[in-house]
């Protein structure tokens, strides 16, 4: 009889231990979340923070800068418009420009005054990358 109760305790415990193990006690495993499909974002309705007219637009959508690479001439400006639900930034890796946080449906326009290639990231999601290449206008002495 005693054995039987010991075995009962052992079996119940083993089940509990196994359950607990599945719920996060395995140091090598991840705990997947019930993840619903990521909803698509609404189109830009309002754009705050942009007063100038831009020569080109970079859309920030689904954690990507579109287009990722863009060529413009010196003195021209680009509007960066965020249509994601998440905030993003447009931050030059050399520190030469930084949009601060662009929340959903906010935009930021920047005028590029120097020629060169300007890689940038989102400082909140730094795996998001883009490059603006600024070329000197025809006949000017810049390279």
């Amino acid at each position: 009889m005693k054995y039987r109760s010991y075995i009962l305790v052992a079996v119940v415990s083993a089940v509990l231990v196994t359950l607990l193990h599945l719920y996060g006690c395995n140091p090598q495993s991840t705990q997947p979340l019930n993840q619903p499909k990521v909803t698509t974002n609404q189109p830009l309705e309002q754009e705050k923070g942009s007063t100038q007219k831009a020569n080109a637009t970079v859309k920030i959508h689904n954690f990507k800068f579109e287009p990722t690479t863009l060529k413009i001439n010196v003195g021209e400006s680009i509007k960066f418009a965020n249509s994601d639900e998440e905030p993003h930034t447009v931050t030059a890796t050399d520190g030469s420009f930084d949009s601060k946080a662009l929340d959903t449906e906010e935009a930021w326009t920047h005028t590029f005054t120097k020629p060169g290639a300007f890689p940038y990231i989102c400082a909140i999601h730094p795996f998001m990358k883009g490059t603006v290449t600024v070329t000197s206008t025809k006949g000017k002495n810049e390279t």
Binding site: Y6, L20, L33, V38, N62, F63, P87, A101, A123, P126
Partner: protein
């Protein structure tokens, strides 16, 4: 006789774990350090709390009431049966680094009965390299983003890895901070239990989403000579555990909203859950060091 003893032993071990978990809405109970139990810690019992990713200022459908969920966590921490020695916030206090968000977060966090330590997440340093953050949360005890302190025989180090980013979008500690870490750890004995905090994980959890630190290997090599190291991170908004040698890593739940598990979906965007499901994945955790026992980490959900 032997069989009987074995069954008895297995049985009571199971019940012991059940007891440890049965408390108040704990998700799980894990021994993060198997090595500390071999030595008696020359210290009294210590308990502290980690809270993370409060994202004050977030108001999207994934959680339109982030101040309320933070408040719920604070209330639960304040009524823990064992009052924590301190609370550590592992970053993303605010959502957009706005002074008003820091003010509001500070007001709510100031209700904590225990002293609060903070470190910044990338949401706290947007556009100003943490200026607004450091105006709200004093940085006077930090050098190069590092702060360390001792409590009950345990050495604590808090690191900053959100100000610069590696080539592939990983977090970065920077050489100046690593040098300071080397200096700080040089003064510690190898059997001193270490607890290290940073926002972004200090290992390659999921580099594609930037869930990694570019120069973490340098930090880990400094930690490798210690017999018990616990690394607690935020940023991931879910509990993920990992170990390398004597180093145990664990990311924390958020009090604001969950993120998808690594690679689940196209991007690390907030996951929308029904409210009762949401509260179950939000929370904080307690970490307990008791002399002669394993380090005990308990997850407390807000459900």
């Amino acid at each position: 006789m032997k069989r009987r003893n074995f069954i008895n032993h297995v049985g009571w071990t199971g019940l012991g774990i059940l007891w440890a978990v049965g408390g108040n809405g704990l998700l799980s109970s894990c021994n993060v350090s198997e090595t500390t139990d071999k030595k008696q810690l020359n210290s009294s019992s210590l308990s502290f709390v980690q809270i993370s990713d409060t994202h004050i200022g977030f108001h999207k459908p994934a959680n339109e009431h982030v101040t309320q969920t933070l408040q719920k966590a604070i209330n639960a921490i304040n009524s823990l049966p064992t009052p924590p020695a301190f609370v550590v916030h592992t970053g993303d206090i605010s959502h957009l680094s706005k002074p008003a968000e820091f003010d509001q977060a500070k007001q709510i966090l100031s209700q904590l009965k225990a002293p609060l330590f903070t470190l910044p997440g990338e949401h706290d340093t947007i556009g100003d390299r943490g200026k607004a953050y450091s105006e709200a949360f004093s940085q006077k005890d930090k050098k190069e983003g590092l702060q360390s302190w001792d409590h009950s025989g345990v050495h604590f180090v808090s690191l900053t890895n959100v100000l610069d980013f590696g080539e592939t979008g990983k977090g970065k500690l920077g050489q100046a901070q690593l040098d300071l870490l080397a200096k700080d750890l040089a003064a510690q004995k190898g059997d001193t239990p270490l607890v290290v905090f940073s926002h972004i994980p200090l290992y390659d959890l999921y580099p594609k989403w930037g869930w990694a630190t570019a120069d973490s290997a340098n930090a880990l090599s400094l930690l490798s000579r210690f017999s018990s190291v616990t690394v607690l991170n935020g940023h991931i908004h879910q509990i993920i555990q990992h170990s390398e040698g004597n180093i145990r890593f664990s990311t924390a739940a958020s009090t604001a909203y969950p993120l998808p598990s690594p690679g689940n979906g196209e991007q690390p965007a907030p996951v929308k859950l029904p409210e009762n499901h949401l509260l179950a994945v939000l929370g904080f955790r307690t970490v307990e060091f008791a002399p002669g026992h394993d380090t005990k980490v308990d997850q407390h959900s807000l459900a």
